[in-house]
Amino acid sequence: MNEVIKINNLSFIYPDGQPALSGLSLAVGQGESVAVIGPNGAGKSTLLLHLNGILHSNGTVRVFDRPVNDKNLRWVRSRVGLVFQDPDDQLFSPTVFDDVAFGPINMGYSEVEVHRAVSKALEWVGMTGYEKRSSHHLSIGERKRIAIATVLSMSPQILALDEPTGNLDPRSKWSLISLLRRLPMTKIIATHDLELVRALCSRTVILDRGQIVIDGATSLILNNESLLAAHGLAPDDTS
């Protein structure tokens, strides 16, 4: 399989001395949907921030066989779309259009291309006609969709999503899951929503204390109750 992301021996320590990732290696193939699950503070978000060069550290992250470094940051950011947990962080412009257009404008698209990219991205997430709305007056489910549209407008080949279903009620959650299933990109999803993992990802990685505990088929891992319990993902029988 064609590897789109290859992480080799990645370690990261936050400036306050707290270790977040230690010696992590991971390879993701084209078109895969990989779930990264683990307890709070396991390093899931930190891992995602490495995928498009927001954080750098020793070890190497390669995207489409090019190293992620300062020289090709722009290129990497157009390939890897990062969707953050809180849509209020991602939607910072006065109108939906401005937010979805932010990436394409930074990528230097022409005005016509920007408009085309925005309407296509909004169509993907089923939010056509919301261009002039202000994000503050949208529901949380709608804001999550717009947040995804803000990276789709840059036509990325890899989507990295941080807790896409956090804070959503079941109906919005399932409609978001079916939306994500329709997107053809390679997906890396950091979450602790196991229903989402079962519905969307064929492969699962358990991350705990900055290290990969196990990497394998979702059906095997999610049925191993004692493994899940040991890493804070299922009720602990011993307590």
């Binding site: 953050f84 939607l91 257009a101 007056h137």
Partner: protein, 258 residues
Amino acid sequence: MKHGFLDQYSDRDSFIHRLDPRTKFIISFLFILVVALTPPDSWLVYTLYAALMAGLLLAGRLPAGYVLKRSLIIMPFVLLIALFIPFFKEGEVAGSYNMWLWQVTVTYSGLQVLVNIVIKSWLSILSLIWLTSTTKLPHLLRGLEQMRLPRVMVMILSFMYRYLFIVVDEAMRMKQARDSRNFGGGRRWQVNTIGNMIGTLFIRSYERGERVYVAMAARGFDGHIRTLNHLSFRVADAYFGIGGILVLSLISLFTFLF
């Protein structure tokens, strides 16, 4: 939680609403300029300016009650600064009072300055209310940007517009959380909690700022602010702009005639 918009009524439709934000900005700026330059005793000129502003507000289909209420907001600031002028300005004495140890005198010219300051600031704030209530803030920002206001400032203003409500929401949630655990307590203790809340709010906003920056960087932001420009003047803008400038200069000419 829902709040009133900063730019309430800006989504109504009227001839004024459809004008280019730049036209409205220039007219309200000129209005403030000529009002500020009006000599103190030209009451007729003030009346004409007030009539003109009333006409503009009516044309913008803004409710009078709302406009009056909002215009009162600046009065405390103006009064705080201007209230003492009648006591200090020298001139013909209008009244003299004994207050404890001091003899306090009020002069006519001082009173005139006070009234002038109040009228001028009130007319100016009306013009700003007219501008912001008939223009959507995103449009206004785009207009300012095309008028060469530095993009960093436009961006700061747009962040303010976007995050003001979120910070208010956060503050209200904290207040609810506090009230649900608050069973009286001394005044001193309550003031302490408010201080802590303000501190927490500041730290949360600061951290949010960092997360927003990361979200911007993830979409290719490299410190250069790039935007698309959409606005274009229409014929109505030319008529309104030229008409407005003519009327304003006509009224300011009255100053010399009377």
